[in-house]
């Protein structure tokens, strides 16, 4: 396997592993917890490093995960006092824990290789250098195995607890009544998030973890109407942003993680713009169409109203009509053309006539707009 392929594979596996718990975070309106956890694991990593003097030691993962869970616990503890709202609690807890981490590094780490930015930014490009060797056999990059394992764990747990998680997400009260233990599920999900964050940001850094947890599910939310499609979409969008993200990084020789995070945003914007039905473009076109149809209806009804009346000549003259309707000539021309195209209007010289079909349509619209009053 070439190093480039290894990096790309790790990136895709990480994206997939992050998207699964991230999808539930987004639905539970807890997206920013991933932000908090990703920063607050720092003291765990630092303490682990002091104990083992090795940035690869598994104990670091355990301690980082523990400080991630501690973050969640502290946030809820503060919230439960009723004196602070959730966002305030989050905004208090993670900077405090992060500060402890930074202070520890500054005070005691001295010259050892442990930078805050190494922890925060991550570097996918280094993935191929850290290999898993077993009995002298090179099994590939260590991160590949970590992320594959993590994806497996996330997928398995979410598959096993799918029903419970979905119910607890949408209706915690019912879930509790049915004996599903929402609190336990909540901490399980938070544990999953913490472990995923810790394992992932070793390779990709704290910020890409947040992008990968929240961005792809947010994009999927624009399209999906059902839970399975939503989860699948989250996975797909995550993996999809990895490929062009890495491509752009290679092409421009820039940070891979940053490039992938950017692609997450680009992908979201594309979906936001182009989604059928709900996309901005589709809405804009629907809006335009509705405006045009309404204008056309108005013109037809106007003509119908003045048909066979003394003023009819003036009221259907190409020159006076735009003034009467208070339309620009440009708009009038557009609507007139559309009416002719649909066979509702006929232009004879400068006079506009309703066709039989146009008359029928105008009556129908008039009926729909102002239904005849009921008489009993």
């Amino acid at each position: 396997m070439s190093p480039a392929l290894e990096i790309l594979l790790v990136a895709m596996l990480t994206a997939a592993a992050c998207a699964l718990p991230g999808a539930f975070l987004v639905l539970r309106r807890m997206s920013l917890v991933s932000d908090a956890i990703s920063h607050a694991v720092l003291p765990g990593i630092v303490v682990g490093f002091f104990l083992t003097e090795n940035l690869q030691h598994p104990l670091l993962l355990v301690l980082a995960g523990a400080s991630g869970l501690l973050t969640v616990y502290l946030i809820e503890l503060l919230e439960k006092t009723g004196r602070l709202r959730e966002d305030t609690a989050i905004g208090l807890v993670f900077p405090a824990l992060f500060s402890v981490g930074v202070l520890l590094i500054a005070r005691f780490a001295g010259q050892v290789h442990l930078d805050t930015d190494a922890v925060l930014l991550g570097e996918l490009a280094f993935v191929p250098f850290d290999r898993l060797i077993w009995r002298g056999i090179d099994l590939g990059p260590r991160a590949l195995w970590t992320m594959a394992g993590l994806l497996l764990i996330n997928a398995l747990l979410i598959r096993l607890l799918y029903k419970e998680l979905v119910l607890a997400t949408f209706d915690a009260a019912s879930a509790a009544v049915l004996g599903f233990r929402p609190v336990l599920l909540h901490y399980l999900l938070m544990g999953l998030v913490a472990v995923t964050v810790v394992a992932a940001f070793h390779a990709v850094g704290a910020i890409l973890v947040i992008a990968l947890m929240i961005g792809p599910p947010a994009a999927a939310l624009l399209l999906a109407r059902r839970m399975p499609t939503y989860l699948l979409g989250s996975l797909l969008f995550g993996v999809l942003s990895a490929v062009p993200g890495y491509g752009m990084a290679r092409l421009l020789d820039v940070s891979i993680a940053g490039s992938m995070a950017t692609m997450v945003g680009v992908l979201f914007c594309l979906v936001w713009l182009l989604a059928p039905e709900t996309g901005l473009l589709a809405r804009w076109r629907r809006h335009r169409r509705q405006q045009r149809d309404f204008a056309l209806d108005l013109l037809l009804i106007h003509l119908l109203h003045h048909e066979h009346r003394p003023e009819a000549t003036a009221e259907r003259h190409r020159a006076t009509l735009p003034l009467h309707l208070n339309w620009t000539d440009e708009k009038f021309a557009r609507i007139l053309e559309e009416g002719q195209r649909r066979g509702w209007l006929r232009l004879e010289g400068r006079m506009i006539h309703l066709t039989e079909a146009g008359r029928r349509h105008a009556r129908k619209r008039l009926e729909a707009l102002a239904p005849a009053p009921h008489t009993t």
Binding site: V26, R29, M30, S31, L32, S34, D35, H39, L78, T81, R83, L84, R85, E86, D87, T88, I90, G91, L92, F94, P95, A96, F98, S99, V100, V102, L103, A106, R107, T116, D117, L120, L121, I207, L208, I210, A211, M213, I214, G215, P217, A218, L221, L222, A249, L252, D253, V254, S255, A257, G258, S259, M260, A261, T262, V264, G265, F268, W272, L280
Partner: protein, 355 residues
């Protein structure tokens, strides 16, 4: 006190004052984490401003930061208006995507500008020690401008903060006022970036407001108190960090602010948890005394002083809203009353002799 320390302390105090008081704008709308998002989203603006101008002057970089921070929040607003994506997800995504773009630009700047870009990343973690006298002037000017705006639109800001719908019915330009709030917040955050950095900015916005909120329910006071808390923590944090080597200023300020917020949650007069605990204890004591008084009265009137009385009799004497049963159990644990299974409650020998 040497000159550099005076500059750093003044800068940190100004930062605390401005960010702390303006932070109330976000915290009281339950959007405290906007600070975190804007701080992260400032990065691409900082790098672009440097790449375009070739200058590392703080004013130039701060301008870039303000532009990209505002853009990020406008993106969030547009997402909220047009999709089902909620505030937390929109904010988190904007934060991460903008920061990612910033990292891309930063790594690109390393190629094109070589070593000239060194120091740009001090905005990530903040370095109070690099503050110059010129920076203070910029901070003060931006702060004065922000406060002037707050004062000028005081009534409108309060209305929009607490009741948007009502503000709209009064004919106020709610959308424009919201944009004003965003701009004010962005100013508060951008001012702080150089001192405390991206990650810790969130605490400087949130903690003073959270602390101040415990001491008052009036918006004006909360804003002033938050500013005061920010100012004190900033100055104190900068001073402590000068006492020993390798004590970074930003984390110290943040830890002081957090401590202040927690302390406020505990001891603030009306809302403090400590006083709540004391009040509950006192209320329980009063209730216990009332129940004892009823029992003593009953014993006094009854021919047999040791005659047990059912719970209902005591309940009737005190009214329905006193949790008599629980209080009696409590008294039983304390050895003041005794329970006879079939008949009811009686005073123990120990308590029947005390008046």
């Amino acid at each position: 006190m040497d000159f550099t320390l005076r500059i750093v302390m003044t800068g940190a105090a100004l930062l605390g004052l401005i960010s702390g008081s303006l932070g109330t704008l976000a915290v009281l709308r339950r959007q405290g984490l906007i600070g975190d998002a804007v701080a992260h989203a400032a990065l691409p603006g900082i790098v672009l401003a440097f790449l375009l101008s070739g200058s590392k002057a703080p004013v130039v970089l701060q301008l870039g930061a303000a532009v990209s921070g505002t853009l990020a929040l406008l993106w969030v607003q547009a997402i909220l208006r047009t999709t089902r994506v909620r505030f937390d997800a929109a904010l988190g995504m904007a934060l991460a995507v903008f920061f990612g773009l910033g990292v891309v630009l930063l790594s690109a700047a390393q190629h094109t500008a070589g070593a000239a870009q060194a120091g740009l990343d001090r905005f990530l973690f903040g370095q109070a020690a690099t503050l110059l006298r010129e920076d203070l002037i910029v901070m003060a000017a931006a702060g004065i401008l922000a406060f002037a705006l707050v004062l000028a639109f005081w009534k409108e800001i309060q209305l929009v903060l607490f009741d948007e719908a009502y503000a709209a019915t009064l004919g106020l330009p709610v959308r424009r006022l919201q944009t004003l709030l965003i701009v004010l917040l962005v100013v508060a955050i951008v001012i702080g970036l150089q001192t405390v950095g991206v990650v810790l900015m969130s605490a400087v916005i949130v903690a003073p407001a959270a602390a101040a909120r415990q001491w008052s329910s009036r918006y004006g006071r909360v804003l002033l108190l938050a500013g005061l808390f920010g100012l004190l923590s900033g100055a104190l944090g900068a001073w402590i960090s000068s006492l020993a080597p390798r004590l970074p200023t930003g984390p110290l300020i943040v830890l002081l602010l957090t401590a202040l917020a927690l302390l406020s949650v505990l001891v603030a007069p009306a809302r403090g948890l400590l006083w709540q605990y004391v009040r509950r204890r006192r209320a329980r004591e009063t209730a216990r005394q009332a129940v004892m008084a009823v029992l003593q009265e009953l014993a006094h009137r009854h021919p047999d002083a040791a005659h047990p009385h059912p719970t209902a009799t005591i309940q009737a004497a005190l009214g329905a809203d006193v949790p008599v049963e629980a209080i009696l159990r409590d008294l039983e644990r304390r050895g003041k009353v005794r329970h006879t299974p079939d008949q009811g409650w009686q005073l123990t020998e120990r308590s029947s002799h005390t008046p």
